[in-house]
């Protein structure tokens, strides 16, 4: 019997609060985009928070923030906090996305077209 306790639901705000140590997503200060590619500089170390360790393991080859979120089953806002931790301690590198909002570079668009044509 589990008394009157509710099941520990993976997606509850409470669990997410624990993972980030109560910090909310630094959405304004973070430079991370959904498609920023994250690469680990080293493997996990003992005693590390499991989510940090998992990110370092899966980012041994480049992976976008969105993919990290999907594989960890955690919201992007939470993953952003965790990756910012790893960035500030120099454990991962972030490869910023190509900024294109206002003025897409014709050469970039051509590269995309060529890539799509090979599909």
């Amino acid at each position: 019997m589990r008394g009157g306790d509710e099941e520990w639901d993976e997606g509850t705000p409470e669990r997410l609060y624990v993972i980030t140590g109560g910090r909310s997503a630094p959405t304004e200060n973070s430079s991370l985009d959904l498609v920023t590619l994250i690469v680990a500089k080293s493997g996990p170390t003992p005693g590390m928070q499991p989510e940090h360790a998992a990110i370092l393991r899966m980012c041994h080859s480049p992976l976008s923030v969105a993919e990290v979120s999907a594989y960890l089953h955690l919201p992007v806002s939470v993953v952003t906090v965790l990756i910012d931790d790893l960035l500030s301690t120099g454990r991962v590198l972030a490869r910023a996305p190509v900024a294109a909002a206002q003025l897409p570079d014709p050469a970039l668009i051509e590269a995309v077209i060529h890539g799509l044509q090979r599909l």
Partner: protein, 206 residues
């Protein structure tokens, strides 16, 4: 307990890993109403099985903060599917299929910031759900094209009739697309890129 090696391995299958040379990513957003085929389109061109990222919208997030007592906080989970195409050794394209309702867009901060453009996927049986999406993209200055997902039982409209019905500016391309078909979905993306290219070129001239 938790000994080395007993932890489940999370992350991409080895064949889904990007090469070390992948240095830059771009994104395109596929917008459309529920059931219009966003995930189908993403899945038909993606090199990986589409992944899902979720964001939780708590009551606080929707502006309700008068919760009394010890009631459990309720949270709505909103999911977004996405896929990936490696364009060359360095450049990766991510495709995000996002719900048409703008109130969900803010959940993924910066979803449209830096996006090359958007594909508005339209079901001709439910044109009305597209009006709002198109208006919002125009407001945000996100370049887009309209792709008509050809459902077998959907009414066929001449393209120009649809342009009028959707109140689309003359320059915005409309293409037909079978979201289930890889080549057809790819061609819709290429049409978007050609449109973006023409926009960039005309801006350089002026």
């Amino acid at each position: 307990m938790d000994f080395k090696g007993s932890e489940p391995v999370v992350g991409p299958r080895s064949e889904d890993a990007l090469p070390e040379t992948a240095t830059a990513a771009v994104k395109v957003v596929v917008v459309g109403g529920f059931g219009v085929g966003k995930t189908t389109l993403v899945g038909s061109v993606s090199e990986i099985r589409p992944l899902t990222t979720e964001e939780t919208m708590t009551q606080a997030g929707v502006g309700v903060d008068d919760t009394v007592g010890v009631e459990r906080k309720s949270a709505t989970t909103v999911a977004m599917d996405f896929g990936r195409i490696s364009l060359n050794d360095e450049l990766v394209l991510y495709l995000f299929g996002t719900p048409g309702q703008q109130r969900f867009w803010f959940l993924w901060n910066g979803l449209f910031d830096g996006a090359l453009g958007a594909v508005v996927l339209v079901d001709t049986r439910r044109l009305e759900v597209s009006f709002d999406v198109i208006g919002r993209l125009e407001e945000r200055g996100v370049p887009f094209l309209v792709a008509i997902n050809s459902f077998p039982d959907a009414p066929r409209h001449p393209i120009e009739e649809l342009r009028t019905a959707l109140d689309l500016p003359a320059g915005v391309p409309i293409v037909e697309c079978d979201a289930r078909d890889r080549a057809s979905s790819r061609d819709a993306l290429i049409a978007l890129m050609r449109y973006l290219h023409s926009l960039a070129a005309s801006r350089e001239v002026s």
